[in-house]
């Protein structure tokens, strides 16, 4: 089925985009409720039922705030920096398959997918590598030393953790023999999920990918770029109103996308058993639900870690990356290559 590219974008892109924006907003409400329950509190409870409208109140309030540009700031950079991370997040979403079904030929076909890129993994890794640029722009343009320190940390951390992330992503690539995320899911649908089909190594690769994603998304215990207790508010220290809101939204989006990617690469994406034989629509709905549940569980675990752990120091963070994660990733890749070439998988 070939559609007009514009229509294609509208039909597939808009629902995904709106859905993800809704997820981002909901995630911020949910995180506040979740953390409150962890801390013997009630959490947001007044605006809307169970305070569920709170993110919208925050967003609307941010829209009303005055837009301040600090004296001495680089005005252009300061203005465009908040837009970039949102764009990058949305672009990342384009290659994540959110559902699938068994087609007539007996293969797993992707369903809710904006673009089935052949080099999906490369795309994901390169775009998420770009994510440090807007943060660096924001930190540099703010003309604030805290923001500058935070930006330097962001770049160091982002560039370093890119490497274990790539190495972890290589494991499913080698096993499935494909760079497309959709076909990777299809491989898992027939051969079993990546964490199980490759004993131990698959699980370790998932852990590596998960840790690197935590660092890429700047979550505790790797959240030194925003480290409120020492750097006040990190790179967004000088941003007011909706601009700071965009950065905060991006954090949720980035976390969500990282969870979705990990699900697609290691937990079989939208695949679940007992689907074969159902009507295609029912399969798509069920597999989309399965994808959402799996992603949410990873997402929850990220916030669980966030609200119960402390943060590393910047040099310890680098040490962890270069002394442990990178060599570990290399070993994992070698193990995978050996087992694939010996035909164990």
């Amino acid at each position: 089925m070939t559609l007009n590219p514009w229509l294609h974008g509208l039909v597939y892109g808009l629902p995904v985009l709106l859905g993800v924006m809704g997820v981002g907003a909901l995630a911020s409400w949910w995180e506040r409720k979740f953390s409150a329950r962890m801390q013997n509190r009630i959490g947001v409870d007044v605006f809307g039922p169970f305070g569920v409208l709170q993110p919208f109140a925050d967003a609307l309030k941010m829209l009303q705030k005055e837009d301040l540009v600090p004296r001495g700031a680089d005005k252009t950079m300061f203005f465009i920096a908040p837009a970039f991370p949102v764009v990058l997040c949305v672009v990342l979403l384009g290659v994540v398959p959110f559902a699938g079904y068994w087609d007539d030929t007996g293969t797993w076909a992707p369903a809710i997918l904006i673009s089935n890129l052949d080099i999906g993994i490369l795309w994901v890794l390169s775009v998420s590598g770009l994510m440090v640029f807007p943060l660096w722009m924001a930190g540099w343009a703010s003309n604030n030393k805290y923001a500058l320190l935070a930006a330097m940390r962001t770049v160091a951390q982002g560039v370093s953790y890119e490497i274990p992330m790539v190495l972890a992503a290589l494991v499913p690539v080698i096993v499935a023999g494909d760079l497309s995320i959709a076909r990777m899911v299809a491989w898992q649908a027939t051969h079993g999920w990546m964490v199980f089909s490759l004993p131990v190594v698959g699980f370790l690769a998932f852990v590596l990918f998960y840790l690197a994603s935590l660092a890429e998304a700047n979550r505790i215990p790797f959240d030194i770029p925003e480290a409120e207790s020492e750097l006040v508010a990190g790179v967004i220290v000088e941003y007011t109103g909706i601009k700071s809101g965009l950065f905060i939204l991006t954090e949720y989006l980035h976390t969500f996308i990282a969870s979705a990617l990990a699900t697609a690469m290691f937990f079989g994406g939208g695949h679940m058993p007992f689907l074969a034989g159902l009507p295609a629509i029912a399969q798509i709905v069920l597999s989309a639900t399965a994808m959402l549940v799996k992603t949410s569980m990873l997402f929850v675990s990220i916030y669980w870690i966030r609200w119960s752990w402390y943060r590393f120091r910047s040099d310890q963070l680098m040490e962890l990356c270069w002394y442990y994660l990178v060599p570990g990733g290399l070993v994992l890749v070698a193990c995978t290559a050996v087992s694939v070439s010996l035909g164990w998988v």
Binding site: R41, V44, Q54, K61, L63, K65
Partner: protein
């Protein structure tokens, strides 16, 4: 200290764009209501926490009272915040910083004076180094008396602020809250009074500033205090 605080009726350009859109005036009232509701349910606090009241302010954020219920977050940077809570004694050395942080907050913004030290200086008000009431340097919307006020009283003050915001955004003119009874007014007037404006205009607030960079600080000679015009105190 550069910002003129007299202009408190800040209007966001959003309103302007909306009105100029075709048919925009129709949605204006409902938009107004929406924005009003969102603003008063999402007050982010900037804790200007200097002394004892800060601990009680932390208690208000902790689990027994849980300020988060009404959507307040405590953010450490003034750029993200809507309400400055002055919790504790403000000294002459600290006052220029309070003013600067207040100026760094984006409009619309509100001020809360928590505790009798912030309101009038309490029993420190006569001492050489204490500012007799933070309302002499920044506009204060809500006073929460007490030494320190209970965490519950902080919530009551927050509700009072929400009422005032609702009235303010609905276009009603609201009277300035007076200081609580028996909290003595200083010789200099509170924020917005003629004498206070004069003190600010003549750079006297500036003069008490200490940049203190290891002996190379920028020093401004202290101007003698002007006798208040037509006032015996």
């Amino acid at each position: 200290m550069a910002v003129d605080e007299s202009e408190r009726n800040f209007e966001h350009p959003l309103y302007h764009y909306w009105e100029n859109m075709p048919g925009g005036g129709i949605g204006m009232t409902s938009l107004d209501r929406l924005l009003m509701h969102s603003a008063r349910h999402s007050l982010w606090f900037f804790p200007m926490a200097t002394s004892c009241c800060a601990i009680e302010f932390m208690t208000a954020a902790a689990s027994r009272v849980d300020m988060d219920q009404v959507g307040t977050i405590i953010r450490p940077t003034p750029r993200h915040c809507d309400v400055m809570v002055v919790a504790g004694t403000i000294t002459v050395k600290m006052a220029p910083r309070v003013k600067k942080l207040w100026d760094q907050m984006p409009e619309p913004k509100w001020g809360i004076a928590m505790g009798s030290c912030a309101i009038c200086g309490d029993f420190y008000r006569d001492i050489y180094s204490v500012v007799p009431g933070v309302d002499t340097i920044i506009p204060i919307d809500v006073y929460i008396p007490g030494c320190p006020p209970n965490a519950d009283q902080v919530m009551v003050g927050l509700q009072r602020l929400q009422e005032k915001i609702a009235a303010q955004l609905a276009g009603k003119t609201i009277d300035k809250d007076p200081r609580p009874p028996n909290m003595i007014y200083p010789a200099i007037g509170t924020h917005g009074d003629a004498r206070q404006t004069e003190a600010t205009a003549t750079g006297q607030l500036e003069a008490s500033r200490n940049l203190g960079y290891g002996g190379q600080e920028h020093r401004v000679p202290v101007a003698p205090p002007k006798p208040p015009a037509g006032d015996a105190t």
